[in-house]
Amino acid sequence: MRWIAATAAALALLAQGVQANETFRFTAIPDEDQSRLIERFSKVADYLEAQLDVEVEYVPVKSYGAAVTAFRNDQVQLAWFGGLSGVQARRLVPDSRALAQGKEDAEFKSYFIAHRSTGLEATDELPSDIRDLSFTFGSKTSTSGRLMPEHFLRQRFDEPPEAIFSRVGFSGDHSRTIALVESGTYELGAVNYAVWEAAVEDDRVDTDKVEVIWSTPSYPDYQWTLRGDADERFGEGFGNRVRDALLAMDDPELLQSFPRSAFIPADNAMYAPIEQVAESLGLLR
């Protein structure tokens, strides 16, 4: 009998030990420059660890789909999502909430870029001359590379992209969209404005061959989302502490990994427009 009691006590202790030492895991996919991900985000993990007083680990993932799955399956508790993936994730995990967004994400936008052979010039309204050209989106679930550009195209032409363009492709990535339009493989493309501007700044794109012809109206994009059960598992008020730690992040080296200039508060309601658009395009149900 004593033996059983001792075992139970030991197990209880062990369980408590496990709970106290539970690792807080997060994931993030930057929209550009994913080189040396582990190295860079391990520094972010160190920062959060110091602020939150729990063990923090970065889990590298490859795609938004994988990030949402990891979040849903509780393999990560916090994630830096794109607009659409964040909405997907919050729908799948009850009570999860958007904590913070990048300063740039409150007014994010996409650029439409065109190969010079189209002869298109930058205009304030999306020109009707783009009809029957070839067009490429970025990744299928990218907010800035697919969702919002498709939304504005439908708004302008009242037709699905396949009816507007001679050919519609999905390059899979913003950098690829730029490469494919620069080489003229596709005549037009839609790209995340931050990625485009970084590429122009670093001289990675030949602006004699490809130029911005239109900028979409602004919409909310990337955000940090936390699982609903975080407080329960890491202690009362943990979610707010995570948010405060994110908002207080001011080391340029850490911020550069995202890349954002600062984080500002965000909440679920801000992303309602994204949710509506995704529903109307059949990307959510």
């Binding site: 550009e32 582990i38 795609s63 789909g65 799955t69 399956n73 899979g172 080489s183 493989t185 061959k209």
Partner: protein, 502 residues
């Protein structure tokens, strides 16, 4: 009045193996030509050269320092391939023994084979997360289906004489262990080795969905245009494949396997609830689970248009197969000891390593830049990759042959000696590969060629697992049908003579 019988060429009527294989090949080529107008092969070239030059520079000046923990990635790639293949053998061998007796097992194995490793990985990812278990299962399960089929055919071809010579009464097991297994053993081992090389390639590919093998960094670097880093990773992989004969010595393999076991990880804590939710809910249409018939009808409207998707898949599969045949025929002499000199052979072998080790997705992207979006880049990528693979196997087979007429000029040696002896195995290999090609059409969907795989990938991204799963079932059914057809029409004389099996 004399009636001259119509002079029909021998290849048209002959009943010997040669003419029949020739007819067979020509039918295949004719079918491909006939269907060619249905394929979208438009060419658009504007300014591909700047991007291609950047790629070439990346390959010429690889940035070794930019690769994050290359040895871990390399070790994990080998380890996943080795353990995945081993697990495939363990699962596949018993199935091979029952293969010819049960249609159910044959169809089951065709089902396992029909789904691309990447899609298996995407399925397991939902349950086991980014873990070693996902990687191993994604390799082991389709490989079990492949081993079952190939082992069964190897065993079927072992001579019957020793079995017949045994006195009656011995158990089935005894007969198998003493008469069939020893005869088949060298070929079983040779095939397993070959599959291990395929496993290495697949292990790299698993990085594309997020498992931390070589492919993880390779895909991102290539996608984001960091070609110097991608170049370093590609070279690492080329060297790995080219040096395979040296480091995969049978005495070294156990050491590698045990050492590699420590690299495998992380191991997931399998969550029963997650697993159950996935198999009982996620992959089934919700209206079906709720017996909601009108709901099911509206669910069906969400399914992409299947007819063009199946058409594109089959067309690309056929074109890829015929293209591979032509590429293999043109390329095998480059790496064979019967032709050229040391330098040309080294260059030829190098080229074959390059073509068969570069993931098709990358080849396809290069052609996409060069030729514009259509089915053509996908076709070329499939033909070059698989053609180079067959060429490599055939060249090794050719090296084991001794020409009986050493004084023939080179062209005569090719046309009259070697090719007739090699062609049956070449065709047999092509038939095996055709199945792989059909599977691979799936992952080239990113070119905008709306194959079944294009929609499967799309629905995985939208997290609509029920539709993805439904399409996977359609793909598998298609593969089983093609498999049955090729079983029926494949020339039986074309032996499975995978090189190194002698």
């Amino acid at each position: 009045m004399t009636v001259t019988p119509p002079a029909r060429p021998l290849w048209f009527t002959g009943d010997a193996l040669g003419p029949r294989l020739a007819r067979h090949t020509l039918t295949l080529v004719a079918l491909a030509l006939l269907l060619l107008p249905l394929a979208d092969l438009s060419i658009v070239t504007r300014d591909p050269w700047a991007e291609l030059a950047r790629m070439a520079q990346g390959l010429a000046w690889p940035a070794w320092g930019a690769v994050e923990s290359p040895f871990h990635a390399l070790g994990l790639t080998i380890s996943v391939a080795l353990w995945g293949t081993l697990a495939g053998v363990v699962l596949g061998f018993p199935l091979a023994l029952l293969f010819h007796r049960s249609r159910l097992i044959r169809s089951g194995c065709a089902f396992l084979r029909a789904i691309h490793e990447l899609f298996w990985a995407l399925l397991f990812l939902q349950v086991f997360g980014l873990s070693a278990l996902t990687a191993l299962a994604a390799l082991a399960i389709p490989y079990a289906g492949i081993f079952a089929k190939v082992y069964a055919e190897i065993l079927e071809q072992t001579p019957r004489a020793p079995v017949d010579a045994l006195p009656p009464g011995g158990s089935r097991l005894v007969r198998f262990v003493y008469t069939e297994l020893p005869l088949a053993w060298p070929r079983l081992v040779a095939y397993t080795r070959y599959r291990f090389e395929c496993g290495l390639r697949a292990s790299v590919l698993l990085g594309f969905v997020g498992l931390p093998t070589l492919g993880f960094q390779l895909e991102t670097a290539f996608r984001e245009g960091r070609y110097h880093e991608a170049g370093a990773l590609l070279w690492l992989f080329y060297l790995l494949i080219a040096s395979l004969p040296w480091w995969s010595h049978r005495r070294l393999l156990p050491v590698l396997a045990i050492g590699g076991a420590f690299l495998l990880g992380p191991w997931p804590s399998v969550d029963g609830a997650l697993l159950w939710r996935f198999v009982s809910q996620d992959i089934w249409p919700r209206p079906l689970l709720e017996w909601d018939w009108p709901g099911l009808a509206s669910w069906l409207t969400r399914i992409p248009d299947l007819a063009p998707a199946i058409g594109n898949t089959l067309l690309l599969g056929l074109l890829g197969t015929v293209g591979s045949l032509l590429v293999a025929l043109a390329m095998w002499p480059l790496a064979s000891r019967h032709f050229g000199n040391r330098v040309s052979r080294l260059a030829g072998s190098g080229l074959l390593v390059l073509l068969r080790s570069t993931p098709e997705l990358m080849l396809a992207f290069i052609f996409l830049l060069l030729l514009g979006p259509s089915m053509l880049p996908a076709w070329l990528a499939l033909a070059l990759h698989n053609g180079a693979l067959i060429a490599f196997l055939i060249a090794r087979h050719a090296d084991s042959l001794t020409p009986g007429m050493p004084n023939l000029p080179v062209s005569g040696r090719l046309a009259y000696e070697l090719l007739p002896r090699l062609y049956p195995s070449l065709l047999a290999l092509l038939y095996y590969r055709a199945e792989v090609i059909l599977r691979e059409t799936a992952i080239l969907g990113m070119l905008g060629v709306a194959t079944l795989g294009y929609y499967i990938d799309e629905n995985f991204q939208y997290l609509m697992f029920d539709i993805a799963f439904f399409l996977l079932l359609v793909t598998a059914a298609l593969n089983i049908a093609v498999d049955a057809l090729s079983r029926r029409f494949r020339p039986k004389e074309a032996p499975l003579d995978v090189p190194g099996m002698d």
